[in-house]
């Protein structure tokens, strides 16, 4: 359990310490990538809670979504169409749905646990 947490901490430290400067017009892609990563993460948590978690799907989805979102934004910038809005919309909606599902599952679990405790 400690390995993913350590990875997270190392990633944060690396991100904070890097002095790489990316041009301002590419910072849009980065925010889209962040959104995609969040979406996939919560999707994974939801799947795990619903017992339909598949590691291959999660990992491939994580990286694929990030790349897709970034390339969509890139394409949008070059075509003059604000395609990154589509990505934000899609990921945002899914993010809220996933969080809602997670909340419900957790609530159900909590209430069943409580009932079990009361029964026993």
């Amino acid at each position: 359990m400690w390995l993913p947490v350590a990875g997270l901490i190392i990633g944060i430290i690396l991100g904070l310490l890097t002095e790489i400067r990316i041009p301002e017009e590419y910072s849009n892609y980065l925010s889209i990538a962040v959104l995609a990563a969040f979406d996939t993460l919560f999707g994974g948590i939801r799947a795990y809670l619903q017992n339909i978690y598949d590691e291959k799907v999660f990992v491939s989805g994580f990286f694929f979504n990030i790349i897709l979102a970034a390339s969509l934004a890139f394409l949008g910038v070059h075509l003059g169409v604000d395609l990154y809005l589509a990505a934000i919309f899609a990921f945002g909606v899914r993010l809220f749905q996933n969080i809602a599902v997670i909340r419900r599952i957790l609530l159900t679990k909590w209430s069943t646990n409580k009932e079990k405790l009361e029964k026993s």
Binding site: M1, L3, P4, V5, A6, G7, L8, I9, I10, G11, I12, I13, L14, G15, L16, T18, I20, I22, E24, S27, L30, S31, A33, V34, A37, L41, E55, F58, V59, F62, F63, I66
Partner: protein
């Protein structure tokens, strides 16, 4: 085996979380930097704009001033050249002035020259007319003219300088030069080349012979150092 699989899961998961953490932190960092950099209020922006405009204005003015400076420098150079020319002209004029002053008798003159002394002839009982052995104005004129023709720069009679408008009058036994009476003997001093002056006076049948014929005692000396004083009140 199961444990191994769990480990593998964890490795992949940690990789995912590493990427996630990196992206998150990087994004956060970047946004913070961007916010820090162009933190400009409207007021500051206006100020910057004003300063920039001022700078541009200043540079424009500088350029104009530079141009003006170049033009002025050219002018100065021209003026300097003219001044140099003028200075030359002035020095020429100064030399000329010095020369003219010399001729006008306004300055003290010093130099080589000759001294001619004209004295009345000795009393001769055979001669009835006393005028025949006195020095007359025309004698002096002759001497002076001869000296001037021979290139004398300045002439004085008994120490009195002659100018271009001097007048010489015979007045009995004395000769009036510019209103000043001079008795005999008359000493005519002239500045110029002594050899030229004396040889011109000594010409056969020239001034000396004519004067001697008129019973006048004529004495000619070459002098190395003659000083002629300027005309008083001239």
């Amino acid at each position: 085996m199961n444990r191994m699989k769990v480990r593998g899961n964890h490795v992949i998961l940690s990789l995912v979380s590493l990427v996630l953490g990196f992206i998150l932190a990087f994004s956060y960092h970047l946004t913070k930097m961007e916010n820090e950099k162009p933190k400009m209020t409207d007021k500051q922006y206006e100020q910057t704009l004003a300063l920039r405009n001022q700078l541009i204005e200043q540079e424009k003015t500088n350029r104009e001033l530079q141009k003006e400076l170049n033009q002025k420098q050219e002018k100065v150079q021209k003026n300097e050249k003219e001044l140099a020319k003028e200075a030359q002209v002035f020095s020429n004029l100064a030399e000329d002035t010095e020369k003219y002053r010399l001729f006008l008798g306004k300055v003290k003159v010093k130099g080589k020259g000759v001294k001619v002394t004209l004295s009345d002839g000795a009393y001769d009982p055979e001669e009835e007319n006393v005028n025949n052995y006195l020095v007359h104005e025309h004698h002096i004129f002759k001497v002076i003219n001869e000296l001037y023709i021979s290139g004398a720069a300045a002439i004085a009679i008994n120490g009195q300088r002659l100018t271009s408008h001097s007048y010489i009058l015979c007045n009995g036994p004395v000769i009036t030069v510019d209103g000043v009476q001079n008795p005999a003997p008359f000493v005519i001093t002239a500045i110029g080349d002594p050899d030229v002056l004396s040889s011109s006076l000594n010409l056969t049948g020239g001034v000396k012979d004519q004067l001697v014929n008129d019973n006048i005692v004529f004495k000619l000396e070459k002098e190395d150092n003659i000083v002629l004083n300027p005309i008083l009140g001239g």
